[in-house]
Every structure is written in C-alpha cells, then in structure tokens.
Amino acid sequence: MSTSVTLCGVKLDNPVIPASGTFGYGHEFAEIYDINCLGTFSFKGTTAHPRFGNQTPRIADATGGMLNSVGLQNPGVDAVISEELPKLAKVFKKPVMANVCGFSVGEYVEVAEKLDACAQVGWIELNVSCPNVHGGGMGFGTTCEGAANVTREVKRVVKKPVIVKLTPNVTDITSIARACEDAGADALSLINTVLAMRIDPATRRPVLANVTGGLSGPAIFPLALRMVYQVYEAVNIPIIGMGGVHSARDVIEMMLAGASAVGVGAANLVNPFAARDIIEALPGEMEKYGIENLVDIIGGAHNG
C-alpha cells in the first residue's frame, strides 16, 4: 500500500499539505508533533514588506466553518528568509511550499525570486486569491488576464515549480485555470476562501472590522470539491485540492475529483493535530475503499 504522490516532480510521502495561513511557519505545530510526517506544508502568505494585516476583530465563527479577514499579517520576505526559514530547518527536513502575495506584479516577482533562491523552498504558490486585501491578492485572480500576467512574469524569473492558487469568487473558475496553464503555471491550488460575512444582531453591525472575510472549513467542502472536479476537466496540470477537508475520507474524495495533493486549512485551527490525524487515518480509509496506491485514484470520479 502506498500513500505517496508526486507534485511537479517532487515526491511527497503523502498528499496532505497544511494550507497557507493555517500553519504559520510551522513552529506552533512542531512543538506538539513531528511535522516531518506531512507531505509538505504551505507557509503563511508572504509579502515584500512586513504587514500587520486588517483591524480586529478579524475572526468570526459560522456553522461548519469560520471567517477570517486577517489580511496577510507577515514579517516580510526578508525576515522570513533570515529568521523563519532557519528556524524551520531545525524541525522540518522536507521542501516547504512558499506562499507569495503582492500588491503589484512587481511585488509578486520580487518575493517569488527571493524565495526561489532558498534551498528549503520546493514550490512557489502564488496567492492571487486572498479576499482580504485591497489592491492586491484576489484583485489579480479574478480575471484571466490578471492571473495570467502574474503567472507569466513570475515564471520568467523562478526556477522552481510555480503553483497558482485560485479564488472561488469568480463566475467561471475553469477559464482562469486555463489562462494560468497557458501562462506557464506548473500546477494549480484551489480553493482559497469564499467571500462571506456575519452580522451581530445586538450591535446591528458586521462582526468583522473589515466587514467581509473569507469562509473556510467543512461548510465549503462540497463547493471546493465541485470546483476541483471542473478544473480537472479543463487543464492538464496537477491540482492541489483544498477547502473544508477534515478527514481521510475527504482527502480521497478530493483526489477522486482530480486532486494530486490535498490542502488542509481550518481543520488545523480547531484540532492542532488534524493534519497528522488525517495522515494516520489514510491507510485504514484506503483499505476500506480497496485502494492500493493513492496515485491511482486521482481523477477517478471522471472515468466512465
């Protein structure tokens, strides 16, 4: 029995990848379990300069999920390279995925180029889908031209595989996926959070200071699964499927829909052991469904 998969030529022991923004730079989790059990993980969205992010409150609860409007709080790419990555090297021996965000094409290129030069980084994930920043993030991912442009410019300077992370907050995600593939993307990851809001009836005001935020967690799993299924039919590059995954069964569904690897986000925040628990449960779940090698089921739901 084998859980291993390949992502853009790099072998992963299993397809489970904690999603950007829910795993920090790995340390909080390395304190409680050996994170080398992961396929890899995607670190917090990183920009050229340090960012505080949005005003608080920037977290809200929802049935089957949560909203966040963190807005890319991060120490900036230089501090990530000089402080976070050396600390990470002590506890994580595998290549890590670098999540990159920007407010201009030039910023994406600058940050991606710096992280590309780090030996620890295995993949560059371009976050053109953050719904919580104005003038950046999702602004680049909601049009074919915008997404293709960032992809093309980053591909020009980066040697490592470039994964473009797509937003569900569009009319037709498949056309954006195709535009990214045509612009040279090596893989796609989807979905980022779904634009959403909550209102406090007592104050009659939005709960989040930013008014809107991104919904994630089990509530969005069927929606994410549908998009992965559709994008799989539209492109020939690998897909990292994510959105609401919280069990080994969800991983298998995502892979059947067409995912080569699977992101786990909000689940890590309510159960800090979630990613490890899912990995440990995978063999049992594979046995239950008669799966010998996990790679064999990728896109399996499309056959026949």
């Binding site: 409150p57 609860d61 929802a62 890590n268 925040l269």
Partner: protein
Amino acid sequence: MKKGTFTLIKNEALVSDLHRLTFAGDASAVTRPGMFAEVEIPGYFLRRPFSVADASENSLTLAVRIRGEGTAALTGAETGARFDILTGLGNGFDLDCAFERPLLIGGGSGVPALYMACRELIARGAKPIAALGFNSAAESFYVSDFAALGAETVVYTADGSLGRRGVVTDALLDFDYSYVYACGAVPMLQIIDHEAKSGAQFSLEARMGCGFGACMGCTIETANGPRRVCKDGPVFRKGEILW
C-alpha cells in the same frame, strides 16, 4: 499545549449568568496561573477561550459568563458531559515580579482568572490584596474564595451595595502595593496601565481562531511590534500595549 478529553464533574451557577465549571481530566499542561483553555462546544466550529480559574494535575476549573450561544450551551451542560479541551495555552502571569505585597485587581468576569495567581502568591509567602469589582452585591461572586485563601480581600461595587462604593481601580489609591496583576474590561486595564505606581501585568481578551499562534487572528499592536494575544499573551506588561 495539550489536547484532551475532560468530564464535567460540577456545574455551579455562582450568579445567574456566570457558572463555575469543574472538569476532571489531565490538566498538567497548566503550568502557570493566567493561562487559558480552549473548549470545543458541540455544534460550534471554533473553540471558545476561557481563563483557567484553577487547575491541579487532574482537574480544571473555568468560570464562564453567558455571552452568546456557545457560552449558553456550555453552561447548560449536565455533569458527566465530556468536552475536548486544549490546555496550557498562553504565557500566563510571571509571579517572580510580585514581591511582598502584590495587588490583584479583578473586574467582573475577570475576577476568577486571578484566583490561581492569588493561591500561588500566598504559597510563595507573599501577602496579596485582592481587589474585586462588581456592579452590585447581587452580581458578586468568588469573594469568599479569595478570602478563604487568606488574601486581604476588598470588594468595590458601583452602587455601594457590597464593600466600598466606587470602581475597583480605586484600589490603586487605597493601598500600598509592590506590583499589580489584573484581569477585566479594557477601560479598567487602561487605567491601571496609566496609573499604577508599580509594574503591572494584565490579561487581555481577543477574538481567536486557533488560540495557539497559528492563524494570526488575534494580533494587537504593542510597543514591541505586532503580538498574538493567544501565544505572546494573553498576559502583557504595563507600557507594552498601544491601546
């Protein structure tokens, strides 16, 4: 941080909207007073954070005020109910600063968060003053618990129906003290930050996603840059917070 299953063994309504919940389970991760716990409440996605009111190797006490749906469900639980709880979260109070005569200032539902600190300070030989503030006698709780520990316990009520009439921060003028530990509403903490004549530490609240430093949901600005209330706090020192 530890994740474990706890069994509710006692559920007491101390006043109508505040319950003391005692759980049996492995609370060995609670190594300092002022740490907090995150309780998974069935039917709610995010865990709810509560200060540890008391803990031993195998028991955990939380004092929960009913604010919304999650706290209503939690305080309505029957004894025997089992909960998944993360313990050992946050930095907790640093008691090494306390010296002889620490002043503990608690406001409303912030009062229980100081109980364990008070117990440990007394065990270390300090002579703490516990200044506890409530709106009225009817809304007061935990007063006899602090007194039973042997702390000099003084109550302040807004209407004068119990103890001294006034606000609990009046204690900063009414007593001589060597250090201040506080938990309560933000305006109360601001007064302490500006007016305490000694060093001070206070416990803050923030909307939290994870409670253990991973999501950046709870960040505040401090004199030392952005800090996560859940991981770098919830206890901050006088002068640190940019209110």
